[in-house]
């Protein structure tokens, strides 16, 4: 078995819409190539409308019109065999869903069917992949829930009878009960208060370590990446602009955008004003020529405006897409940001 469990190659996925006679093509994912290794937590960061959600949808084999994969491949190396989710048939996808590949969605409030008891929902999702039934199935679920510190009678409850935190844990439990090899977590901690956030993060980390699964964790919150990710990839305007080990990304970023994202984290004791980035994220239906970040970049030169920099390896396990990466300095001092284990 190779080191990589996921290999994304030249992926392009666009939204193609025809509204009242006007054709619009939004290039949500525009040529992304990356890999995820076994047992690692890979964080994906980016602003809203950067294309990271669309990227996740492709990984999770949840592509629906008007989103369409235009080019590239997404290859998983599961223990049951390799599979390219872009080209796989629905039957092949069904075999890996939930068992090898699962998904934790944003918003625990509404992912559970409001008129169905939790136990039944578990049966809907996990009975087929696990291949157990009746008593054996129930025992497995109860045992798994116990790990998440959920009592067995949660199975008899309806979603609205549980607190927000419990619902979040149920959703994580639902996604992990089959011990999947690959978990995609899409903003699972957004809209949660920090206390619950810490709980959920440690839960995910624990489960990930126990099951030796790989996790792709999407969030715009850099402090969460600092806490949980082994490597971080930054997506901007549908492209991967930097990728590297978490510590490197924080202390020695090689892309101006990353530097800004890291600098935006508050630090106790540091009262200097944070410089804000000019402008707004580009319109993915009509992205700027050359480097897509150039309109907002403090280091932009003519070359940036005309030629799009390729993603190249600049240090150990560290890639960046910037013409002037050598001149990128971290905008903060060596004080470690709150939350990062030094």
């Amino acid at each position: 078995m190779t080191r990589d469990i996921l290999k994304v190659d030249g992926l392009k996925a666009y939204y193609q819409m025809n509204y009242f006679g006007v054709n619009r093509e939004v290039r949500a994912v525009d040529d992304i190539t990356m890999t995820v290794r076994r047992g690692e937590v890979y964080g994906i960061a980016g602003e809203s409308s950067s294309g990271k959600t669309s990227f996740i949808k492709v990984l999770a084999a949840a592509v629906r019109p008007p989103l369409r994969v235009v080019d590239g491949s997404v290859r998983f190396g599961f223990s049951t065999g390799p599979i390219d989710v872009v080209r796989a048939s629905p039957r092949e996808l069904e075999a890996i869903r939930w068992m090898s590949l699962s998904y934790v969605m944003q918003g625990s409030m509404s992912v559970l069917n409001p008129v169905r008891r939790i136990g039944k929902t578990f049966r809907d999702f996990a009975q087929r992949p696990l291949g157990l039934s009746g008593r054996a199935f129930e025992e497995r679920v109860v045992e798994h829930l116990a790990r998440l510190k959920l009592p067995a009678d949660v199975l008899r409850a309806y979603p609205h009878e549980l607190s927000g935190g419990m619902r979040q844990r149920v959703t994580i439990g639902l996604a992990t009960v089959c011990h999947p090899e690959f978990i995609i977590a899409d903003e699972p901690t957004t809209a949660l208060d920090v206390v619950v956030q810490k709980e959920v993060l440690s839960l995910i980390r624990e489960i990930q370590r126990e099951m030796d699964s790989s996790v792709v964790f999407v969030t715009h919150d850099m402090s969460v990446h600092a806490n949980i990710a082994d490597r971080v990839g930054i997506i901007y305007a549908g492209r991967l602009v930097e990728e590297g080990p978490t510590r490197q990304m924080f202390f020695a970023p090689k892309h101006p955008y990353t530097a800004h994202l890291v600098a935006s984290l508050p630090r106790i004791g540091d009262t200097t004003q944070r410089p804000a980035l000019d402008g707004r994220p580009p319109n993915l239906a009509d992205p700027p020529r050359g480097c897509r970040f150039h309109p907002r970049c403090p280091l932009a030169i003519d070359k940036c405006r005309e030629q799009s920099p390729p993603l190249e390896t600049v240090a150990a396990d560290h890639r960046t897409a910037c013409w002037r990466w050598r001149e990128v300095t971290p905008l903060v001092g060596a004080i470690s940001p709150v939350g990062v284990p030094a």
Binding site: M17, N18, Y19, F20, G21, P65, P66
Partner: protein, 285 residues
Amino acid sequence: MISVFRDLIRYNIEFTIGLVLVGLVVAFAALSFISPVDPSLIYLAVPDQPPSAQHWFGTNSRGQDLFWQLSAAFRNSLIFGLTVAVLSRIISITVGLAAGYLGGWVDRVLMFINDIFVSVPIFPILVLFYFVLRSDLDTFTLALIMACLGWPFDARLIRSVARGLKHREFTRHAVFAGMSTRKVLLEEHLPYVMPIVFATFMNNMLWSMALEVTLAVLGFTNLNHPTMGTVLYWSNQHSAIVVGVWWWVVIPVVLIVITFLGLFLLAMSMNEYIDPRSRLRRMGV
């Protein structure tokens, strides 16, 4: 506004068809204003003549030119529908906003009254009104009665929208700034409510015209005031189909179907356009 209209015509086939059909009917009804014959007079023309160059829709057994008769009838029906819709909008908006925004006992009382009206089957009650009032039941009174019976559904819709609005930020700001309740309702909430009002306006027209047709066919309205239904009433009275005067039945029925279909298509397409989710769904196709 015009661009919305243009978009709808160009890309929403239901709207176009609806507009064409309704346009035809309205034009036809408008012709009654230049009618050379008085539609309330009978035995002016030779009865039971099939459609010809002289009488485009033929004549009926009562000696009336069917074309002009129907033109006047449809005009009256459309005006009737509009009247009921306008009157019941007034009631439903008032009740809906008041119940939704003021809440408390006002809401409870109004919703209780609403429930009563919903539980009462409207047709028997209208028949009862006819039974009691007989010839005193002129068209406007009927419109008034129907307006008083037709507001419950829409009032409930408006109420739930108002309830949602009440808790929104901008309402609290307005109240905090000292706006009177009436001003808040009229200036802040009404614009949100208008799309629903507009959609239910068309539905209400359909409903009231349908009821009017039904009552008239049974002879339970003012028969001297020609409407879509009274034409059918008279054709039934004279056993038109059996006698062979098929144009007296078929042509009105076809026109009635066109009218209702057209109004329905308009209402449906406008509803779909107003609801952002359905509009987005069209985008994805």
